[in-house]
Symmetry: C2
């Protein structure tokens, strides 16, 4: 009923009379008032003026399912949104949904994570209400050996969304970081559950710094606000990312990984660079068929890296 | 306390007096009696003779943790055994243990499974008390792209155990079946949970027909009893399999996959055969680096299969 009332208020430019709402939604005047009170507690600014009615003046700065779903228009990604004020990690909740046969497209988001994590069990700082932290459940038809490519898929989708939304020159650093001016704007995580010859589900996690201040971040990290100079609407950012993931998922299901890998190469800040990765020093020249990084070392030999941290040299 | 009483009775060739047990275990005579009654309800045959005491005459035909652990002597595999009378599938329980950070080596077994499954969501028939149905949790240090090789590892370990235990000429049919005389004796299943660049855990499932009658099995399946003509002690079979898995896991951790793949080739009934797999017809010639089957087709070309059913031809 709260969703229906918000819809009602959204449709009207001015005030909606209690009488009109009551008639449309078949709810008593007292019932409207009770729901309006609850919506206000959720952070909605709703003005009530005698003889005029109700008016929606502002929505809360929270990734509420109702707001994320409003006008989203995706086919799969975001088909269900679960929102939490605080979670240890959105990954664990989404993974459990996967185990419990939740359909693909479900998104678990939180205003803050107390144990947000990055690759290789590193911490991911998740200041409350400042970022977009979510995990997406997908069930792609894949062999387990191809699952690592889903990291490339998500990096491409998120990178494109952030470029379009912010106009910033966002690049992908192999395998899963999104950088602006060499600083980390977002990190992507992937976990999967598989049988021998098919992936059962994957969970893609995104940690994106939106309105985060520098003092809330490690020195090598940045946020959309720090880069553009203005605060961004987190709901709009999240919708842009979900739409891009949905678009690229359709590409993947229709045309396979080739278009994804082509676009990854264009968006990469790693390929063509002199880098070190672990003990290996050389030039990052390409991706292999599993999403590994091919590094050409001193004697011309090509080495394939499936894990590790890329550091630019010189 | 029940474990301690059984240990006491096992140590003695004849009768153990209630007085001795009472002294050793610091338990009242009434306490002993209560535990003995419970043990009898579990299926232990314990004779009680006035003035002589108690004697263990038989243990139940169940894969009780106490019996499986007795004299097992493994380092990792079977470090903890969980036993159920009936489960939908041992895979689901073991997978959930993996999610919940259970240490590796845990084994979940059941006397029967109501929804026992094989590869590609096929059913696995699990008649009550007739087979060994268990799932093993391991946490190998692997890339997700290498996880499929754990199927080869488990096939080798189980195949060797069954050969040693029964003297039967057991072979591996790619990727995960164990055959005697062309009939299916056991099936192996693998599921995994992974991050982008590391496997978090794998679950290996075994369905092994031990004392199963032909009428309880599909026509293309067989059991140890059907092949050898005598009933086998299911606990001893399970211990043999767990020991072999433990031994091969040590090999894997010490020397990698090479010895596993070498032994797989020796035990395989697939390599060298003319086969069909899906639409592909040719000769199975080798395994590839991920555990896929290499089939040489008519024009000499080599095709790699990661999934499908192998059918012998001619």
């Amino acid at each position: 009923m709260k969703d229906a009332i918000i819809d009602c208020l959204r449709k009207s430019a001015g005030y909606s009379s209690g009488e009109d709402i009551s008639r449309q939604l078949k709810i008593s005047r007292a019932g409207i008032w009770k729901n309006i009170e609850e919506l206000r507690r959720d952070g909605y600014e709703i003005v009530a003026v005698p003889h005029l009615g109700y008016k929606l003046n502002g929505i809360p700065d929270k990734l509420l399912p109702r707001e994320v779903a409003h006008g989203l228009g995706t086919a799969i990604v975001g088909s269900r949104v679960l929102h939490y004020e605080s979670l240890a990690s959105t990954m664990d909740v989404a993974f459990q949904l996967g185990v419990e046969d939740e359909p693909e497209g479900a998104v678990v988001c939180a205003e803050t994570q107390t144990r947000g994590r990055g690759r290789m069990e590193r911490r991911w700082s998740s200041p409350k209400g400042k970022g977009v932290y979510f995990s997406l459940l997908l069930r792609p038809n894949l062999l387990p050996t191809d699952a690592a490519k889903m990291t490339l898929f998500s990096a491409v989708a998120v990178c494109e969304a952030l470029r379009e939304f912010s106009g910033l020159d966002v690049h992908i650093k192999w395998p899963n970081d999104l950088l602006v001016q060499g600083k980390k704007l977002a990190g992507i995580l992937m976990e999967l559950s598989a049988e021998m010859d098919r992936v059962r589900f994957i969970v893609i996690g995104l940690g994106l710094n939106v309105n985060t201040a520098q003092r809330q971040l490690p020195p090598q990290a940045t946020s959309l606000k720090l880069q553009t100079g203005t605060s961004a609407d987190r709901i709009a950012v999240m919708q842009a990312v979900l739409r891009s993931l949905d678009r690229w998922y359709a590409v993947l299901n229709g045309q396979g990984f080739d278009p994804v890998i082509k676009r990854w190469r264009e968006l990469s800040s790693t390929l063509g660079q002199k880098i070190s990765i672990g003990d290996i020093i050389g030039t990052a020249v390409d991706l292999d068929e599993h999403g590994g990084l091919i590094v050409q070392v001193k004697d011309g030999q090509r080495v394939r890296c499936m894990t590790g941290d890329v550091q630019p040299i010189g």
